[in-house]
Amino acid sequence: MQKTEGLNWLHNLRTKWIMYRLLHIIAISLAITLVLSAIAVNILNFSIWSAALIFLLIGTVILLLNPVWKKSDDDIARFVNYKYPEVEESAELLLLDAKELPMLQKFQRDKIEAIIPCLENPKEIQGKIYISGLILFIALFISYGISKIPAIKHNKNQPTEAQNLIPAIKENILPEIADFNLTILPPAYTQKASRKQKIFSIKLEDGAKVNWQIETNVAAKKLSFIFNDKEIINLKPKNNAKRDWEFSKTINKAGFYQVVVDGKKSDLYQIELIADLPVSIKITQPKQHTTIDIGQPQKFTLKANLNDDYGIKDAFISATMASGKGEGVSFTEKRLSFDTNFGNRKNVSLTKLFDLKSLGMKPGDELYFFIKAMDNHGQSSRSDVYFVSIVDTTELMSLSGMTNGVNLVPEYFRSQRQIIIDTEKLLKEQSSIPAEAFKTRANNLGIDQKLLRLRYGQFLGEENETEIGGDHDDHDEHVEHKGEEEKFGDVTAIMDKYAHKHDIAEDATFFEPEMKAQLKAVLTEMWNSELRLRTYKPQEALPYEYKALRLLKDLQQKSRAYVAKTTVKTASLKPEKRLSGELDKILQPVQKMNFEQKELRIKHLKNALSILESKRNGEKLSEDERFKLTETEKYMIVAAAENPASFLNALTSLRRLSAAKKVVVRDIDVAQSAIQKMIKAEPAKPQYKTTLPASTLYQSYFNNLNKSGR
């Protein structure tokens, strides 16, 4: 027996060692699991059971890396040798069979056997158990922190649409109703499947059909539905037992309803309607007003985005071309289809290339178009009208517009035209003349263009030739004034000296700001054309020249106003009556009108507010007040039928108030805030000032003051 005692001690030591190490590993793997599973559950939305899996996984991995159970008795013996000098390096002897040991070893073994049980358990066997405990504690904190990140939690947990459609309201159901079932069959255009709910409040698409199946726990004589407090529908029982009832109705109006079993009315249940929206059309290209200038391709691409809540059935472009002028304008309408299959998609982006030439459009013609789209419910919508016009060069070149009206800048204007003609001539002769001559002529044209630009610049008050329509900061002209002799007492002269007259509104606004802006645009175009001409690219300069001309022409047209000619019929004058100064035939008209007050609604509602207010202390309603509240109820029924979500509760409260014997303050609150919602904000009205009643005294005081002349 003595022999095993030492051995037992060693074995015990080994078990303890292994247990502590295992505990250590479990703590660490638990810590890692906590953090990981917190992330997995809270952020990645895994099930809570994944934690167990993670724990097992991490546990095995750490155990495999760290095989604690492999620690043998020999290892322990070695450790004991190292730790306790008392065992004299002979702990292994305990592991050997005593009988087989030589004598000396046997003695040694007996000696140790006596010592060993007295030895304390070494501290090392506990290892880093405290550290692992600390790690576990920290991990606990981290995982708690992760679980408190609410934003991530909610975003991921969005309810599906179907759940959204069932109103989450707690309802009171008549005790007579044992069971009920509502089936909502959404209309075909929504492409939604039918859904069932166990709540009386309904939220449905416009035109959906609702089927109620009600089972009463006693045989009811009569079961009816009241819609919006007006429409009463009596149900027919399915069988003679009179316990199963069924009713269907297609609903296309919001409101509320009640279920009545044998004359007992239920709460008010709301019907909320989701209206179908028409297709929304967004045209991203081209701009609303587009002008195609000479030299530009007579094409454009139409890009549009169509959107609908349930599906788009069809869309087309309605295009109108206007050609001709004045009385000879002719319109041709065309219906252009998109080459796409819409197939009830909710979102369609469309592109269409317009080739204006193939549409038969000539320069000077205009194209108006809009997109019309239909959704699968048959609702149609249309976009704004867009304009595309092709510039007519012949029109621009003609002088017809210039012969009349205010002619601001005739000579310069003609020269822009001249430059175009010259450029075109130069281009025509390009092949027949030498390159050098071509360049010189192009350069000369450029110079002409520059001169023209500078002259226009003067209209804008430009003084520097490098500037295009910029503001001038040059103050040279003031220097000139210095030489003039000063007149004594000349106020304007003195004022000139100090005032900056340079920018006086009357001088500077020779043109309207809008015109000025357009003039600047002309100058820019001229700059561009000059640049091309000077760099011997007349072909490229041509579009800019045309644009400058077109803008100039617009500018000129703008300064004209058109007044339509009208036919006026005047009464024939009686010359003998004129200027006689007799007024006796003139009548003195008197009009009289009285405002009829039709709307008593606001007054009713306002009075109802104070009636409710006076009942806050639990006072009972008088008959008169009850009658007034019933009047208010009528208005509220109208409001609730339109907007059940915000007024239905209030209506219930109001009914409870006028019916019940005891007044509940909560009901008053609900009813009052609903009534306030029904009264719109009123604009301020003039207020009388009041004086105290005994004004006669004050008045005589005032009169006495007046008399004494103070």
């Binding site: 009108m593 405002f595 507010l609 306030q676 009205k685 003039p686 207020q687 009388y688 007046n706």
Partner: protein, 598 residues
């Protein structure tokens, strides 16, 4: 006395017996100690039966008393060395600041002690009618400092429909938490404000109440989720009578057309006269019966509250008409003049001097009501004509450069208003009906003839409390008839003011909390009577202020103080005696049982 005597006799017998036993014992050890212990034990037994009392004397000023009133802080009360007095009906006696001598009636007490000429008042102070009786005394007031909450609040008891209800007050927060002040009315929260710790904040709530009739709003102070106070704010919204308007125009224009329509739609009685030719007019009577307006006469003008007239029309008035108008204005008629020319056209338009500014292009005009700094939407034209400021004028509307557009002045009993704004109808065209209404409401309100009430009354104190003395001061139109005044059907006896014969006052102790009806002659008014716990802080604070004010106005020098000794009887705690008893009897027992053996 009998009991004391009996106790003393029994105890002496007991002592004699004990002493005899001690002396007769054989063992004479510790005899002195035993005798002492016996004496002590018997003495303490006696004092257990009869309390041991001793007298102390404190020096006290005989001319001075300390009066503890409600709200005295225990700390400051403890500091008072000399005797403390309190009135019997107050709750101050319940405070834990040592005992006070209760006085059933302060004035009776003072009559009894004619030597007293100085009173130190602690706490919230005394009520005004109590203070009045202390006029001949030197008063010292030590106000309570532990006031936290709403220390002031003011709101109108009555407003007209569409008017703004304005509640203003002061909150003193001595707590270390932020307080949320919430105005709650008609079933919902209207507005709230946060009051930071240790701050005294002015607060102001504004709302347009929608009811007609009585309502009680609630002003709630919240500390986190705890309700600190919940004070009622009662007021009445009354419908208002429409004012009668007369428009005299030299020619019809859009401004008049729109104004006419707006007044008509709002159901104002309106007469509109526009000139066709010399002495030829076209007249409209809207919501009004016919009046002859071909010439302006006193009878016609008497009917109207406001006259709107343009300058051209003023210049075409005859002299007689002008003097008629002046008389009417002296009697309270309000006149709005539309000024369009830089030069005055005489008569009343002389009273407004004006100036022109050069035209500024495309600036537009943004009028602002000066009183509440309400900014209107831009009017799409440029204003050149402005009015000059004058010391007798009240500016009503200015533009965004603070140039005056509309100004008003007193003229007789009435008001005279001039406006240079000529095209306010642009607001209507732009759909800003609210601006248009606000502008014309401001002008008409400022100008219109004042309505004389046939009755006005004032409640004193401001917060009348149930079962407390409440005074109603009533102003009546007729002077010499005694009014019949009833409160909840109970007839009250009024008293006429000696100097103002039209003023009467009644005193009452209202019995019911909430709305009470007050009948004065034939008219019925409503008075809200507050519960005892309502507006406590405010009432206490105003009491303090009242006392401070009274003491301030009543400073008196004290003649030389008489010092006397005051004797107080103190009692030795029975515990001490009991301990002595236990110790001495314990010694006797121990001695006989333990020490003697050895």
């Amino acid at each position: 006395m009998d009991f004391k005597l009996i106790a003393i006799i029994i105890c002496s017998i007991l002592l004699v017996f004990l002493l005899f036993k001690e002396f007769s014992r054989n063992d004479k050890a510790r005899l002195i100690w035993r005798i002492l212990a016996s004496i002590f034990s018997v003495a303490s037994l006696l004092f257990l039966l009869i309390p041991l009392q001793y007298k102390t004397s404190a020096k006290q000023n005989l001319n001075e008393i300390n009066l503890i009133t409600e709200g005295t802080e225990p700390d400051s009360a403890l500091k008072i060395k000399s005797a403390k007095y309190s009135l019997k009906n107050t709750e101050a006696t319940e405070l834990k600041h040592g005992k006070t001598i209760q006085i059933p009636d302060l004035f009776y007490f003072l009559k009894e002690h004619p030597e007293v000429n100085k009173i130190n008042i602690y706490g919230y102070g005394l009520s005004l009618n109590e203070l009045e009786k202390l006029k001949d005394f030197q008063l010292n007031f030590h106000p309570s400092n532990n006031i936290t909450g709403i220390i002031d609040a003011n709101w109108p008891n009555e407003i007209k429909t569409t008017a703004q209800f304005l509640l203003q007050g002061i909150y003193k927060n001595t707590e270390s938490n932020t307080i949320k002040l919430l105005l709650n009315g008609l079933g919902k929260s209207i507005d709230s404000v946060n009051i930071k710790p240790n701050e005294t904040v002015n607060f102001s709530f504004k709302t347009q109440p929608k009811q007609i009739g009585k309502a009680v709003f609630k002003l709630i102070a919240l500390n986190g989720k705890d309700t600190i106070s919940n004070e009622p704010v009662p007021f009445i919204v009354n419908e208002q009578a429409a004012m009668k308007v007369l428009i005299l125009s030299s020619f019809p224009d859009f401004e008049y057309k729109f104004l006419k329509k707006w007044l008509f739609d709002n159901q104002y009685p309106l007469a509109y006269r526009s000139k066709i030719s010399k002495d030829k007019y076209t007249t409209d009577f809207l919501n009004l019966s016919n009046v002859n307006l071909n010439s302006i006469n006193q009878a016609a003008l008497k009917q109207f509250d406001v006259l709107i007239i343009d300058e051209d029309e003023i210049s075409s008035l005859s002299g007689a008409e002008k003097s008629t108008m002046q008389t009417a204005m002296n009697n309270g008629l309000g006149v709005i003049i539309r000024i369009a020319n830089p030069k005055s056209s005489g008569f009343i338009s002389d009273k407004f001097s004006r100036f022109e500014v050069p035209l500024q292009k495309d600036k537009g005009l943004i009028p602002i009501i000066k009183d509440d700094a309400k900014k209107f939407n831009k009017l799409p034209y440029d204003q050149r004509l402005f009015l000059k400021a004058s010391e007798n004028n009240q500016t009503i509307v200015i533009d965004n450069n603070a140039k005056i557009l509309v100004t008003s002045k007193l003229n007789g009993l009435g008001k005279l208003t001039a406006s240079t704004l000529s095209s306010t109808y642009n607001w209507m065209l732009a759909g800003n009906e609210a601006d248009y209404s606000a502008y014309w409401s401001a002008l008409l309100s400022k100008t219109a003839r004042k309505k004389a009430k046939n009755l006005a009354f004032k409640v004193l104190p401001k917060i009348p409390v149930v079962n407390h003395r409440t005074n109603f001061v009533i102003d009546l139109a007729q002077n010499n008839k005694v009014p019949t005044i009833k409160m909840n059907g109970l007839v009250l006896a009024p008293r006429q003011n000696m100097e103002l014969p039209f003023q009467w006052d009644v005193t009452n102790w209202p019995k019911t909390q909430g709305w009470n009806t007050l009948n004065i002659n034939q008219t019925t008014a409503s008075v809200y009577i507050y519960a005892k716990q309502n507006w406590q802080t405010l009432r206490n604070y105003s009491l303090i202020k009242q006392n401070e004010r009274f003491v301030q106005n009543n400073l008196k020098q004290l003649s030389k103080a008489k010092i006397s000794e005051q004797i107080t009887v103190n009692e030795v705690s029975k515990w001490w005696i009991f301990i002595t008893f236990i110790l001495s009897t314990g010694f006797l027992w121990f001695e006989s049982r333990v020490l003697r053996k050895n």
